[in-house]
């Protein structure tokens, strides 16, 4: 360590004190800022103080700082991403109860002082036996699958076109694909209500053109749900496809053409296989979130549009049956684990290049 080290160490100790004091002040809501921002802000400042303190403590104990740097993201994600799944699993085995919180405790003290662990697979059995849940899972997979295929069919030519465009145009087009993604997802779904309604834009245009006499019924149908999913997730399909297509070596296409392959054959034997990682990544990025989609079926679908995200939502918010909602989530998790692993495998293979 150089001569500057003691100064740096002292300022660090000062920083711990200052940040801790600030956290306390924020917590007590004495600072003249918006009152309800105090609690989360104090969390932020306290986290910073803890970080500095951990560095200090680590130095004192002789623990490498490397581990402290690793520990911060690791602990945060562990507590707020991994542990919730453990809690979810445990509550899926509980029984609903009229209490706060509305599920049975993990164990009970028997009258003779013995411990009784309360856990049963009843909720899962219930899901298996009730046709509603089975149909909801199957129709979620169907809706997500069909939407993914349509997103691929629409997204591929767009991605290809962008990737083949000369430079200034390419950036602009790419920006145009990303732009809707930055505006509100909810409002983009809402926009389709105005389009698909009985007296909506599409029906107005078609009847003005004289194509239809009766307005088409599009809202509250599965068709509207497909449109909504394809529309909102299209950028997620286009971007990974673009990323693989833009790396495509032109000379390969030229070589295929020189050897007498027609554009169609070239596309099927060269372009398509080489863009396979993009196809897999894009499809998974559409398929996985679409399985659990809630907002789109709730706003655009009809009462008979069964999707598992919606069933979970109703189970939780309307029936207030937390254990069954947890069981629904656990089964959904099992359903998406395979596609998630596939996505991860593709990305890991891409990464080292």
């Amino acid at each position: 360590m150089s001569a500057a080290a003691p100064v740096w160490a002292m300022s660090r100790r000062g920083a711990v004190l200052a940040l801790a004091a600030l956290a306390v002040l924020l917590r007590m809501d004495v600072l003249p800022i918006a009152a309800d921002a105090g609690a989360p802000l104090s969390l932020l400042v306290a986290a910073a103080a803890l970080l500095f303190l951990a560095v200090e403590l680590g130095d004192w104990l002789g623990i490498s700082r490397r581990w402290l740097v690793i520990a911060v993201p690791m602990l945060w994600l562990f507590v707020f991403f991994l542990v919730p799944f453990i809690v979810l699993g445990r509550i899926s085995l509980a029984e609903p109860m009229i209490a706060r919180p509305p599920y049975s405790p993990l164990w009970e003290r028997g009258p003779d002082g013995s411990f009784n662990i309360i856990a049963s697979f009843e909720n899962f059995q219930f899901l298996y036996e009730d046709a509603l849940y089975r149909n909801a899972y199957l129709s979620s997979i169907r809706v997500a699958g069909i939407s993914t295929i349509f997103a691929l069919l629409i997204g591929y030519p767009i991605a290809y076109y962008i990737a083949r465009s000369p430079e200034p145009r390419r950036s602009v087009l790419l920006l145009l694909v990303i732009l809707p993604f930055w505006t509100s997802f909810l409002l983009r779904v809402y926009a389709w209500i105005g389009f698909l309604r009985r007296d909506g834009v599409i029906n107005n245009i078609l009847s003005w053109l004289g194509v239809i006499d009766e307005p088409l019924v599009m809202m509250q149908t599965d068709f509207a749900v497909y449109i909504g999913i394809v529309y909102t997730y299209l950028p997620f399909m286009i971007l990974p496809l673009y990323a693989t297509l833009v790396k495509l070596d032109d000379s390969l296409l030229e070589a295929a053409g020189d050897l007498g392959a027609s554009p169609t054959v070239t596309f099927l034997t060269v372009t398509l296989p080489l863009s396979l990682p993009g196809i897999v990544a894009g499809s998974m990025l559409v398929f996985i979130p679409a399985i659990g989609e809630y907002v789109i079926p709730a706003l655009l679908g009809g009462p008979d549009t069964l999707m598992i995200g919606r069933v979970l939502w109703d189970e939780f918010f309307s029936s207030r049956d937390w254990p069954v909602a947890s069981a629904v989530a656990i089964v959904m998790l099992v359903l998406v684990v395979v596609p998630i692993m596939w996505l991860q495998a593709v990305q890991n293979r891409e990464a080292p290049k």
Partner: protein, 268 residues
């Protein structure tokens, strides 16, 4: 490709029409005099006026802004550290676990994330006494967690592309690892962190499902208020709000695009 067919341009054009037509109609009908969202009744800005007098909407917007800023900042800190650890540290125990934990939130269905986090908060409250009730703090934690994954991806790709010899040079000149990080690494990846922060902020502003699960009384975010309104049918003041958001985003993205272009011209 020797023969340039018309197929691709036509399909691409139709694709962009598909992407933009609903957004454009949203904007057009926000200036409609009529309450019927799809029948033109003359130009008017009355819905903007009504929006500005909607107290519930305004306070929800304020809550969403606060949540967005705090959780984006937290997410950027966590995400940067995660990306740094994953790209710069060679093998360590738990690296695979960390990789999984930063990728999985990207695709995890929102209902699962929301429900499991809520259950965690409830379980923590009953066993540890914290957090007491649900509100701004729990929404911030939830948003910071899933946004951190996005920041990690962006920061990671920048860290991978970055010339590591700069860091080595600083180390050879006697700088400690902390100093190298703050003096060399951080300034170099700063643009990526800014776009990561912006992305996290937008994602937080946009989230309905997770917020609905982990929020409490008095902490309804803007999407929650919009959703309860939209569920009852179309309302023109939502169009007005959408137009304001679209204009802000368009300006911000254009500026960012111009800045990026200037930067890439400077150092190609």
């Amino acid at each position: 490709m020797k023969r340039r067919g018309l197929f691709l341009p036509i399909v691409a054009t139709l694709g962009f029409v598909f992407l933009y037509a609903p957004i454009i109609s949203l904007v057009v009908f926000s200036f409609n005099e009529s309450r019927l969202v799809t029948v033109w009744g003359g130009f008017s800005t009355r819905w903007y006026g009504e929006l500005l007098n909607d107290g519930q909407m305004l306070s929800a917007a304020w809550i969403s802004l606060k949540v967005g800023m705090i959780s984006a900042t937290l997410a950027t800190a966590i995400g940067t550290l995660a990306a740094f650890v994953l790209t710069r540290f060679s093998r360590f125990r738990g690296k695979l676990l960390l990789t999984g934990m930063v990728t999985a939130p990207l695709v995890m269905p929102e209902v699962i994330t929301g429900l499991s986090l809520l259950l965690l908060f409830v379980a923590m409250e009953t066993t540890l006494g914290w957090p007491s009730g649900r509100g701004l703090t729990t929404v911030v934690i939830a948003h910071a967690t899933f946004c951190a994954a996005y920041v990690t991806v962006i920061a990671q790709s920048r860290l991978r592309d970055m010339d590591e010899s700069l860091e080595e040079a600083a180390r050879d000149l006697g700088a400690g690892p902390v100093r190298v990080f703050f003096d060399i690494t951080l300034p170099v990846i700063a643009p990526a962190l800014i776009s990561g922060w912006l992305l996290a902020f937008t994602l937080s502003l946009d989230d309905l499902v997770i917020a609905s699960f982990v929020s409490g009384p008095g902490a309804s975010t803007l999407p929650m208020v919009i959703f309860s309104k939209v569920r009852l049918g179309v309302s023109p003041d939502v169009n007005a709000l959408a137009t304001i958001i679209i204009v802000i985003v368009a300006i911000a993205v254009t500026i960012a695009g111009l800045l990026l272009r200037r930067q890439s011209k400077k150092n190609p």
